[in-house]
Symmetry: C2
């Protein structure tokens, strides 16, 4: 199988770029003296995660219990389910632990902690629970200085659960695009999470792990004192949102969507392609960033950026390619029907999720099909 | 299996609503004296399409050749692939026709028509080709008055292909939200497509089928003189985008996402749920409409709209539920941890696509799992 023989649309991984992205993050975190626990929600793909672990990752982060089940089945034991535990999913978590999975679950409220410890006591299971810390008001978690933190720890500890650590995610780091604010939010993530761990320990609640991370903060933090591990996901592919944040060049984006030109509207300067939002996802993450790439940035079939052409519109299976600024009325000559292009995505997690498989393109031009799973 | 036993997130179909939606559209088009060819891209689900055909639909519309293959395998022969033909997919189309599928393909350019007739002649296949008509400048197609239309018809006819019809989709109908402009765009779709057919026939190019459609225009057209069939897809589920357009009430939306409350940020008036954009899709189709529903409108587990609560933010597996306007600082009491909610989606096609299966909830409370497929 070769690039030229692939049906379109297809989700293409440039394996050399992916390997460089994996090495870059692993070497950086090795240098900062912390363990690395990649978030596998980005790819849900065994071959990608194997490469992350081969490079030195220790354990994985998951966003669904299905991911935990699928990766545990491939032999990975050390797994953090980094979404607040729904009481109704405790049976599924118990089943994984009974099978030998070292699954960690997350709580950020008394109600959740009580549900976990009640279920754990009922089933004779000392769940390993990490408490989620809110370091930037972005989503979930307990503020480091809030005594709720200690109350949650106490409920868990007294209920016989194991308080294994604290975990934070500075999701607001995606909103910056210059170095200094990124350094500041990285430090805020680090210091807030470390502070929460210190408060728990001072209250005689054990808290071994201090887990932080997002791709932007992992790549900009100046030091990680007190942190034991970092989580990051999208770095493995990178994307246009991360490019706008400033942590990768477009030439480092490992994921693209291969597509074919199927029509034109010459007076409008449009080429129509057979990749729409079903292939790109509806993610418009660059819409409010410094540069709006529409639904993606256009490259040649060989992966070179072709200037200012973006996917400016998308229906389910139609994409509209146009030049930013003045319309290109020669577009039918530039990209004749049958021309194959690659589109760099706004958000690698969202675009990957639309595809049952990745087509992994090696430097020698050979292609392997790497399945990915979906659903819950 | 019951509603209460379902894991979350899950894509739920209210079967009674779906059946009413199917009957409404079928009866309307029967009354207008045209055939109905539903677009199955909305659900990609055999059970749903079976219900559409049982109600009187004749043939189906697909957005990918995979849909054609999957539904042909279930016994449906009469299929229109309503996306401009990529030359590289002609082999796949030929294979379907050789197996007995009455597959129609689409062209809107000389280059595409030439590719089809060259491939057809080479393989001794008279493809049934429909010419796409541009009735609103929305996407693809040839203007009815453009002589390119006749030139395409001539290439196909002289190459031994069968010019089976013309097809138009007034995609811009989604941009309106009052009755009169919808009636006008519906008439524009009808008259433009009929005019194109008349011009082809006058040039001695056969053109039996005049195929138009979108859910808004199908539901507002005052007459369909000259039209032979209508296509529409999203009507089977309806959604919040269509509600804003004005063609359905929220109580008619048959698709929702079942989710569980997993946390709160009380000072912000947030409840956090276990359905994020992975379960809802990234579709923000209501963003620029008369009412922005965020990522969806919140209902009780039993499907009743709960007032002004929407999913105001979404990460991959986290949704933020909040009240429109003033924050609800009692939200943790209103929706305690473990509360199950249904979220009505912006766009049923996009939300469905995120799920491997639908959970079909009958009026008696029983649930059947209906698979859907994805990919290309």
């Amino acid at each position: 199988m070769s690039l030229q023989s692939l049906n379109t649309p297809a989700a293409l991984i440039d394996v050399a770029r992916m390997v460089r992205n994996i090495e870059r993050m692993q070497q950086r975190l090795n240098g900062l003296g912390v363990r690395f626990r990649p978030h596998v929600k980005t790819t849900k793909c065994v071959q990608v995660v194997d490469a992350q672990i081969a490079a030195g990752a220790q354990g994985i982060t998951v966003s669904t219990l299905k991911e935990a089940e699928q990766f545990f089945a491939t032999g990975i034991r050390d797994i953090v389910y980094a979404v607040g535990m729904a009481p109704g999913k405790l049976g599924q978590a118990l089943e994984l632990r009974r099978q030998g999975c070292d699954l960690k679950i997350v709580a950020d409220s008394i109600a959740c902690a009580e549900a976990i410890e009640a279920f754990g006591r009922e089933h004779g299971e000392a769940f390993d629970v990490w408490i989620e810390i809110d370091v930037d008001g972005h989503r979930s978690g307990v503020l480091p200085e809030d005594d709720l933190l200690l109350a949650i720890g106490k409920v868990l500890k007294e209920g016989g659960m194991h308080v294994g650590g604290v975990l934070a995610h500075a999701g607001s780091s995606y909103e910056y695009d210059t170095h200094d604010p990124l350094v500041r939010i990285a430090e805020q993530e680090r210091s807030g999470c470390v502070r929460a761990a210190e408060r728990l320990r001072a209250a005689d609640i054990p808290c071994e792990v201090v887990s932080i991370g997002s791709t932007p903060t992992a790549l900009t933090a100046e030091h990680l004192e007190g942190v034991t591990e970092v989580r990051a996901g999208v770095y493995v592919m990178f994307d246009l949102v991360m490019h706008n944040v400033g942590v990768n060049d477009t030439s480092e984006i490992a994921l693209s969507v291969l597509t074919t030109v199927i029509g034109h509207q010459e007076d409008k300067g449009w080429a129509i392609v057979d990749a729409g939002w079903m292939a790109m996802s509806r993610d418009r993450g660059t819409q409010r960033q410094q540069r709006d790439f529409g639904y993606g940035l256009v490259c040649s079939e060989n992966g070179e950026v072709l200037g200012d052409y973006v996917m400016s519109g998308a229906n389910q299976e139609h994409g509209i390619i146009s030049r930013t600024g003045t319309p290109d009325r020669e577009i039918a000559h530039r990209f004749p029907i049958g021309t194959r292009l690659r589109i760099l995505p706004n958000h690698a997690c969202a675009t990957g999720a639309q595809h049952p498989v990745y087509q992994a393109l090696a430097e020698d031009g050979s292609i392997e099909t790497w399945p990915r799973f979906y659903g819950w």
